[in-house]
């Protein structure tokens, strides 16, 4: 199935687990944006108040702990960071990937779900994380 790219005007959020964010010291783990097939959600489809219950239902049992917040970034800005990453420039594409409920695979319904298929390195993840706007789930 062909997945359409998300336009650069849109903003996306990445759910953040408790053990990825040291709130006392303000440090964040590169896990927030490192790896392949990074799951994100589109704020053009659902807002944060609608997304946090979905994040909790689908992700709170992770070994990385419960979801305590989300990091927001504009897709166009994310792509610019990738292109300008001196060590290894990369063309980042955010693809729509709405999910349906599938208890057997521990997948919850999220019409706003999208994915970044490219491999994001630890160093590039650190640069992206510096540009995220953080929202605590309170």
């Amino acid at each position: 199935m062909i997945r359409s790219p998300i336009p650069p005007e849109e903003n996306i959020v990445r759910a953040i687990h408790r053990t990825w964010w040291d709130i006392k010291d303000g440090r964040k783990s590169s896990s927030i944006f490192k790896g392949e097939n990074i799951s994100v959600s589109r704020l053009a489809i659902l807002n944060l108040q609608e997304l946090f219950p979905i994040f909790h239902r689908g992700l709170d049992t992770s070994p990385s702990g419960i979801i305590i917040g989300a990091g927001e970034i504009n897709v166009g800005h994310l792509q610019k960071i990738g292109r300008e990453y001196v060590e290894k420039p990369i063309e980042i594409i955010v693809e729509e990937d709405p999910t349906k409920e599938n208890p057997e695979k521990n997948i919850v319904e999220n019409p706003a779900h999208a994915e970044i298929p490219q491999k994001i390195s630890r160093g590039l993840a650190k640069k992206i994380i510096k540009e995220l706007v953080f929202h605590k789930d309170i």
């Binding site: 053990t19 990825w20 040291d22 783990s29 590169s30 702990g65 630890r122 160093g123």
Partner: protein, 69 residues
């Protein structure tokens, strides 16, 4: 790496269940190391270096990091 104590590194857990440490060197640049069962992945911002070493080579990585502290 007892010298790390004065930097009070943050302790993270990755999705794979690995232990990860993150802190800053004396110039405020990020250092991050992740412990896998058979290797250590690391990122040293000041050196623009991102790689991994076998667990048996941890002292090589330690020497590199100590110079930055």
């Amino acid at each position: 790496m007892p010298e790390l104590r004065q930097f009070q590194p943050s302790l993270f857990f990755t999705l794979e269940g690995n232990l990860e440490l993150g802190w800053e060197d004396r110039n405020g640049q990020a250092i991050e190391i992740e412990f896998y069962p058979d290797k250590i992945e690391y990122f040293i911002e000041s050196l623009n270096e991102e790689s991994s070493v076998a667990l048996a080579d941890i002292f090589r990585l330690t020497e590199k990091i100590i110079k930055l502290l």
